[in-house]
């Protein structure tokens, strides 16, 4: 789960990680009131959406007067912000963060993520703040400093020294401030089961203080149960409505832009099915993993969600039953045809546990647009042909 910048900064503040003062606003009036309370003389008006690249997209602007704050808040609130991370459809801005303008002397980059190879958190830092870190990694990898922290010993002095010397910080007072900054960040990463924290830019002010000018945080979904305070920060409006609806039924759904709806058990096989459709000249309309506890109801729901997409010209149901029993899936398909108007060809491949029973159920139902695929290759080929109207 991801949170907004202003929420990340609330968590930073709780741990003593310095940030500029700021207040969240849902309306122009609130934005003006916040600006007055902050006092100025310079404010930054920042669109709050779950995506990076907001500045380049016109979602972060500087105001030098209260009138300007009003104008900018009016402009940004309600705009559809398009960045390299939102996709071409963009995201609707419903909140703006009004923040004190900062005295920026230097821009750095700092993040904490899991290093999967080392199996421990790693602090990544760079002097190239404000830039897209992936570009830095590609073009000047030597400008990224990586300090892995073994959780059994935690953040030690030497981690801090590797960091500050790597960043070329020579002033002793500044070294101390940076080390404390990173240490607090590591602590809050661990204590909150964060998946990643990214601060870009982390600024040095004219007086030699370090501050998080931006803040991005993501959390381990599996650990949210023990962090009700963070769970409460969930912003449903940032999440895809269909994906959310699917999740309520134990389905993992992601919309894509092709023509063949997919319903599969298991994430790997679901991806493999999409790959096979693509390989055979078709295009997958979605990723859908029905999970291990699929029953008639969830399968019917899956059909409903897939068919909401008007681009879908055929559906490929590909199940290799292990825990999932194929006869239940077959019954679910029949159930779906009763509840929803399944008006496209449905290619069904059921293998594994109770597959013969499932074949019998489908055969006896004798529904015209249900076509049996004998294996993965055969099913995918038929789905591709059906989507092209060639079956």
């Amino acid at each position: 789960m991801n949170i907004h910048e202003y929420q990340a900064k609330q968590i930073f503040a709780k741990y003593g990680v310095p940030t500029p003062k700021g207040k969240i606003a849902h309306s122009v009036e609130e934005a003006v009131k916040n600006a007055e309370e902050l006092g100025g003389p310079i404010w930054v008006v920042k669109a709050q959406i779950h995506a990076g690249g907001r500045g380049l997209g016109g979602g972060v602007k500087l105001a030098k007067s209260i009138d300007e704050v009003r104008e900018l808040a009016d402009e940004i609130l309600g705009m559809t912000l398009v960045t390299h991370q939102t996709g071409p459809e963009g995201k609707l801005v419903q909140k703006v963060y009004i923040e004190d303008g900062a005295d920026i002397k230097d821009e750095l980059y700092l993040s904490v993520v899991l290093d999967r190879a080392a199996e421990m958190p790693i602090i990544m830092a760079s002097t190239e703040g404000g830039m897209d870190i992936e570009t830095v990694a590609e073009k000047t990898p030597e400008k990224i400093i990586k300090v892995a922290i073994d959780p059994s010993i935690g953040f030690q002095g030497f981690h801090g020294r590797e960091l500050v010397f790597g960043l070329g910080i020579t002033d002793k007072a500044e070294q101390g401030k940076m080390i404390k900054f990173a240490q607090k960040l590591y602590t809050l990463y661990m204590e909150n089961d964060a998946e990643m924290i990214e601060i870009n830019p982390l600024i040095k002010t004219g007086s030699g203080d370090f501050m998080a000018l931006d803040g991005k945080m993501g959390f381990d979904d599996s650990a949210l149960g023990r962090h009700p305070d963070i769970e409460a920060m969930r912003d449903i409006s940032e999440e895809d409505a269909d994906e959310r609806e699917a999740a309520q039924y134990g389905l993992s759904y992601i919309a894509l832009d092709g023509e063949i709806g997919c319903m599969v058990n298991g994430a790997g096989l679901a991806m493999g099915t999409m790959d096979t459709i693509n390989y055979m000249g078709g295009t997958p309309a979605n990723f859908l993993d029905v999970g291990g506890s699929a029953n008639a109801e969830t399968v019917a729901k899956g059909f409903e969600i897939i068919l909401k997409n008007p681009q879908v010209k055929a559906i490929f149901v590909n199940i290799f039953g292990g825990i999932v029993r194929c006869d239940r899936i077959a019954n679910g398909i029949l159930e779906a045809t009763k509840i929803t108007d399944v008006n496209v060809p449905v290619i069904v491949r059921l293998d594994g546990t109770n597959a013969p029973e499932a074949a019998e159920i489908l055969k006896n139902a004798n529904i015209d647009n249900i076509i049996v695929g004998t294996d993965l290759g055969d099913g995918a080929a038929k789905a591709v042909a059906a989507a092209k109207g060639e079956l």
């Binding site: 991370q85 899991l114 999967r116 190879a117 199996e119 421990m120 992936e134 990694a137 590609e138 959780p151 059994s152 661990m190 089961d193 998946e195 381990d220 979904d221 599996s222 650990a223 149960g225 023990r226 993992s252 992601i254 894509l256 599969v264 058990n265 298991g266 994430a267 790997g268 096989l269 679901a270 991806m271 493999g272 999409m274 790959d275 096979t276 459709i277 693509n278 390989y279 055979m280 997958p284 990723f287 993993d289 290799f320 039953g321 292990g322 825990i323 293998d351 594994g352 546990t353 294996d375 993965l376 290759g377 995918a380």
Partner: protein, 291 residues
């Protein structure tokens, strides 16, 4: 021969009397797995599925001589269960549970390594030595005995791959579902050399996914150490960037972890890489010579 487990392996089940533990332990027993008991706190002294229940893993190990544990406890208790197994001298813990917090696994894995306990998973189908020992949730009937070793991040692709191998007239020595979480136990890096050393295994199928770089490391190792033919499939060629595809680890972040990158590395290491999982069986037949 096989790797990791065989018909003599003594297995206990942690979370033995729970719904999942009961259902799958029953299936494993039916398959022929030598389950010698289970652990559920406060149920020690009882009998379940005809096997003794113990309060602690230590009691279970002392009494039964078990060396492997199959873990079905709820996600929040996985780390505790893994550490308890390691502490009691278990040699291999197979963690089936899905949804264990990453931070917990970070500590649990470290402790397991320190105590020389191997782990498989979490969030995986388990390990099976065909027609001898099934420790996990896979449908046992599709795994016929043979000469192909299988390693997979994905559960259902394990079944898909094994089924195709068997349909081509070959069979499986051991199949290991390693799971797709960010922190996992045994991976390609440890398992490939085990299959290389196993005299019965003549070819290896390796199934990977987008995200992380385990497959890239595997490619390097294959080039240096593996002489047996390897067939590979990487799921997620059509997955969009930045979207998590079900498994916690299956996400392409930035330019790293793409299917193409992994497929290229494996191909360069001499692996026969297939573009669709529907081609796994045929590719195995090709590298082994048609039966």
């Amino acid at each position: 021969m096989s790797i990791l487990v065989n018909k003599d392996t003594k297995v206990i089940v942690q979370g033995f009397t729970g719904k999942e533990g009961t259902f799958h332990a029953e299936q494993c027993l039916a398959y022929g797995t030598n389950i010698v008991g289970g652990v559920t706190p406060n149920k020690g002294g009882q009998e379940h599925l005809g096997k003794p229940v113990f309060n602690t893993v230590k009691d279970a190990v002392d009494t039964t001589g078990a060396t492997v544990s199959m873990i079905f406890v709820p996600p929040a208790f996985v780390a505790d269960a893994v550490m308890e197994a390691a502490d009691a001298g278990i040699e291999l813990a197979v963690i089936i549970t899905e949804g264990a917090p990453v931070r917990d696994m970070m500590y649990a894995k470290q402790y397991a390594v320190k105590n020389n306990m191997k782990t498989i998973g979490p969030n995986c189908p388990g390990v099976i030595t065909a027609e001898e020992c099934k420790i996990g949730i896979m449908p046992g009937m599709i795994f016929k005995k043979g000469n192909v070793g299988l390693i997979s991040k994905s559960g259902t692709l394990t079944y898909e791959g094994a089924n195709q191998v068997c349909n081509e007239g070959f069979g499986i020595t051991t199949a290991v579902g390693i799971g797709g979480d960010p922190i996992i136990g045994l991976s390609y890096k440890q398992l490939l050399p085990m299959f290389e050393a196993d005299p019965e295994t003549e070819a290896i199928v390796m199934i990977g996914e987008i995200g992380g770089d385990l497959e890239i490391q595997a490619a390097k190792l294959i080039k240096e150490q593996i002489t047996k033919p390897v067939v590979a499939f990487i799921a997620g060629q059509t997955a969009p960037k930045g979207k998590r595809m079900g498994h916690a680890g299956a996400i392409i972040s930035g330019s790293a972890g793409t299917a193409k990158e992994k497929m290229d590395a494996l191909e360069a290491a001499g692996v026969k890489v297939v573009v669709s999982p529907a081609e796994i069986g045929k590719a195995v037949a090709e590298v082994l010579g048609k039966k």
